[in-house]
């Protein structure tokens, strides 16, 4: 088998899998910190139970994120040694800084948080949770700084046959960091919010510990609403940035074969299997121009023209990414995002009134909606990474040039099978545990339904 295909498959499988856990860590850490802060501020036992309940789910998820993250740090060298040699001077730095500044912080202090309930004061314990949340999100920042270099190389000079850093601050202030970081971190908050809303909805339907889950739902609805709206707005900025910096990715995402002005937005496009021609397409005229430039006219380059252009710049070769994958992942991401905007709006509306128990059907919708952020997160990253094809570092290094020459197909196949099998088994165990603890609820057992005395109000409810 082709060693490049195997190495790419392994990177894809392990990274998508890792990223199944990361966004929830980013969002839920902050939500748990907010809950614990409410506990410290009000002294109410409900907030302590709330913190512990969501904290337990956070920990199961966090453990998986940590262990699958180790693979990420190792496999650049293991499978992509020539890539590592070429970019190590500039790409290694943010990874090392991530470990030193963020990973140490979250890992060490999470241990303190788990075991420190009786050893630290209430306030200090909450501070520790905030530091865990900050550590997790700082970690995302540095990883995205590294990834942004692959999307849009800056701050380097080509010397000694490799990309050497010559401006650290250019690396940090990479325009791609500016659009990727808010998008990713807020998507994490959205994931946390929909997770909390979905599981709270389950308990609201079954009338367990109502005040606790109402309040959880409210907190998540507020965080979720703010986050998903900001993710969407930022996504728009990111699209415009993509048109400028990676036009091929944009053209593929829209299956735009010919250059158009005004450019149309594809509602549905069916291509042939070779992914080089379209068979059928329904398009909204002018909408892509609108997305790209905030006006109804404006030229967006098509795939054929870009291919021509790239051949002239970079030499002969195929510069067209797998269009169907990019096209559909873009649609899954945007579609899931729009559904989340609608749901978050409704959730906020519901949380402000007294509509929790009156509408179990809608609540059930929120349980299913837990899947939405996961779909959006995975497809967003698949689009971002595969849309860069054939580049591993945009415009600088092609994927096939980055691979480890000393790793045989047999070895790559062995590790691909090994990681996939272990990850599959662990996914079963994780979902089992998450399901078990999510259902067990805040008291470990089912709490009989309480008389519906009073509904905590949305803001400042510290009764």
């Amino acid at each position: 088998m082709d060693p490049i295909l195997l190495a790419r498959l392994q990177f894809g499988v392990t990274t998508v899998y890792h990223y199944f856990f990361v966004p929830l860590t980013l969002g839920l850490s902050v939500l748990v910190a907010i809950m614990e802060t409410l506990y410290v501020r009000t002294g109410q036992d409900m907030y302590k139970r709330m913190t512990k309940f969501w904290g337990k789910l956070f920990l199961i998820n966090f453990a998986m994120g940590v262990v699958t993250g180790i693979v990420q740090e190792f496999q650049f060298g293991m499978n992509w040694s020539e890539y590592s040699r070429f970019v190590g001077d500039i790409f290694g730095a943010p990874l090392a800084i991530e470990a030193l500044m963020a990973f140490f912080l979250e890992s060490t202090l999470l241990g303190v948080w788990i075991f420190g309930w009786d050893k630290l004061s209430k306030g200090l314990h909450a501070v520790v949770m905030w530091l865990v949340a900050i550590g997790s999100n700082l970690s995302a920042l540095w990883i995205l700084i590294a990834n942004s270099f692959m999307q849009e190389p800056v701050g380097y000079v080509l010397r000694n046959g490799r990309a050497e850093m010559n401006d650290f601050f250019a690396l940090l202030l990479n325009p791609s960091v500016g659009v990727q970081v808010p998008h990713t971190i807020l998507a994490g908050f959205t994931t946390g919010a929909f997770f909390v809303m979905g599981i709270s909805a389950y308990h609201l339907i079954h009338k367990h510990d109502l005040p606790l889950y109402r309040k959880s739902f409210q907190i998540a609805a507020i965080v979720g609403m703010i986050s998903i709206v900001m993710v969407s707005l930022n996504g728009h900025t990111q699209t415009q940035h993509m048109v400028e910096t990676q036009p091929m990715k944009m053209a593929a995402a829209e299956a735009l074969w010919e250059t158009e002005n005004p450019a149309s937005f594809s509602l549905l496009t069916i291509g042939d299997l070779s992914q080089t021609r379209e068979i059928f397409s329904i398009r909204l005229p002018g909408v892509l121009s609108l997305l790209a430039y905030n006006q109804l006219t404006g030229e967006v380059h098509g795939i054929y023209d870009l291919q021509e252009e790239f051949q002239q710049t970079y030499g002969p070769g195929n510069y067209i990414p797998p269009v169907a994958v990019i096209y559909w992942t873009f649609r899954f991401m945007v579609g899931a995002g729009m559904a989340m905007v609608a749901l978050a709006l409704y959730a906020l509306f519901m949380a402000m009134g007294d509509m929790f128990e009156t509408n179990p059907k809608v609540l059930r919708l929120f349980i299913i909606a837990i899947a939405l952020p996961y779909i959006a997160n995975a497809s967003g990253w698949i689009m971002t990474e595969m849309g860069r094809d054939p580049w591993v570092v945009y415009g600088l290094m092609k994927i096939e040039d980055g691979i480890s020459p000393v790793v045989s197909s047999g070895q790559a196949l062995l590790s691909l099978i090994g990681f996939t099998a272990l990850y599959g088994a662990l996914m079963v165990a994780t979902i089992y545990l998450l399901g078990k603890y999510a259902k067990a609820g805040s008291t470990g057992t089912v709490v009989p339904s309480l008389p519906d005395d009073q509904m905590p109000s949305l803001v400042g409810a510290q009764d």
Binding site: T68, G77, G88, G92, A99, S107, I114, Q411, A429
Partner: protein
């Protein structure tokens, strides 16, 4: 002293930090099934939980030292990172599988009552501690001994070339050293029967550890080029190391486990310093041709990157040491073999 030397030392410090900290929690992990033996299955579970809880707050923070060492190698010596990680592919793959299982096991094992579930994760902790210690020992044995590196900085051997007798001896030394270190740690962190058993085991393990260490020291003169690089005179580091491992035995006999623990940390530190001294200024010694070795100069990042990273390290290493030290201070008390007060 130039930045390349400083970064070589810093990478060494990160690996030493890793082994000094994770060393005892690897040992504790391997002792989970050993020290928990009891006729009463419920007592077995309680003992296992107690053992795991002694390292519960720390293992994750300890493990980050390894990741940081990897990250620092990538940032400061990209060719070292690329050559070693691709060359030791299968070994690192096994290491990753073991570390994944181990990390998940700590979090998952007590979250379900089913004895088979718990037993599975307990053995994952055991294997997940044994295998990394063995593999990393083998890796360092090979780093000191030299491995086939060709003129293009690529590893030219196979996985089985790494399993030579000297490297395996280094792996065995690290495994038994970790077990001894873990037993001393447990004798400091537990109470009652568990504490006595751990302490008795530590006393029993000292002599075999000493023998294996002496064997490693002796064979190092034949297997590596230590004579030409460091000379016949063992020097302060190795003399300190030898004194420290002897003092471990002395303090164990005197019942001074705290001192024995410190001496064990000194033993591990000096052993690793010796390995890095043998390598210096090379980072990967080529057994094919001395000119093909990777050195702190031909494998390094640019001076600019090293400067940036030095500033970052200067700021953050002390901060990390401060809060990690604090986390050990918070959990300084012994853990009783009672269900109350156990978190995991």
């Amino acid at each position: 002293m130039d930045l390349n030397i400083i970064w070589f030392m810093l990478v060494a410090v990160l690996y030493i930090g890793f082994f000094v900290l994770e060393g005892f929690d690897f040992g504790v992990g391997m002792l989970v099934p050993v020290l928990s033996k009891d006729k009463d299955p419920q007592m077995v579970d309680l003992k296992r939980r107690t053992i795991i809880n002694t390292i519960g707050p720390h293992w994750d923070g300890n493990e980050v030292w390894l990741l940081t060492a990897g990250g620092a190698t990538f940032a400061a010596f990209p060719h070292w990172y690329a050559t070693m990680f691709s060359g030791f592919y299968v070994a690192l793959f096994l290491l990753l599988l073991a570390l994944i299982l181990r990390g998940v096991a700590f979090e998952f094992r007590s979250k379900d009552e089913n004895p088979r579930w718990r037993n599975f994760w307990d053995w994952s902790i055991f294997l997940g501690s044994l295998l990394p210690a063995l593999l990393l020992g083998v890796a360092f044995g090979n780093l000191a001994r030299g491995v086939p590196i060709d003129q293009n900085m690529q590893y030219a051997g196979t996985f089985f070339d790494l399993l030579n007798p000297y490297a395996l001896l280094a792996g065995l030394t690290l495994v038994i050293g970790c077990v001894l270190y873990g037993a001393i740690f447990l004798s400091l962190k537990t109470t009652g029967e568990l504490r006595e058993k751990a302490s008795a085991l530590a006393r029993k393990l000292w002599l075999p550890t000493l023998v294996v260490m002496l064997a490693l020291m002796t064979t190092t003169y034949y297997a590596t080029d230590i004579l030409s690089s460091l000379g016949v005179n063992p020097g302060a580091v190795r003399v300190t190391g030898l004194a420290a491992i002897l003092l471990v035995g002395y303090f164990l006999r005197k019942g001074r486990e705290g001192w024995a623990f410190i001496m064990m940390a000194v033993t591990i530190t000096t052993t690793l310093i010796t390995a890095f001294m043998i390598m210096f200024p090379r980072v990967m010694i080529s057994s094919l041709n001395a000119d093909w070795s990777l050195t702190i100069y031909n494998a390094s990042s640019s001076p600019y990157t090293l400067k940036v990273m030095s500033i970052v390290a200067l700021i953050f290493v002390p901060i990390v040491l401060a809060y990690q030290g604090w986390s050990y201070w918070v959990f300084r008390k012994r853990i009783e073999t009672k269900p109350e007060g156990l978190t995991y």
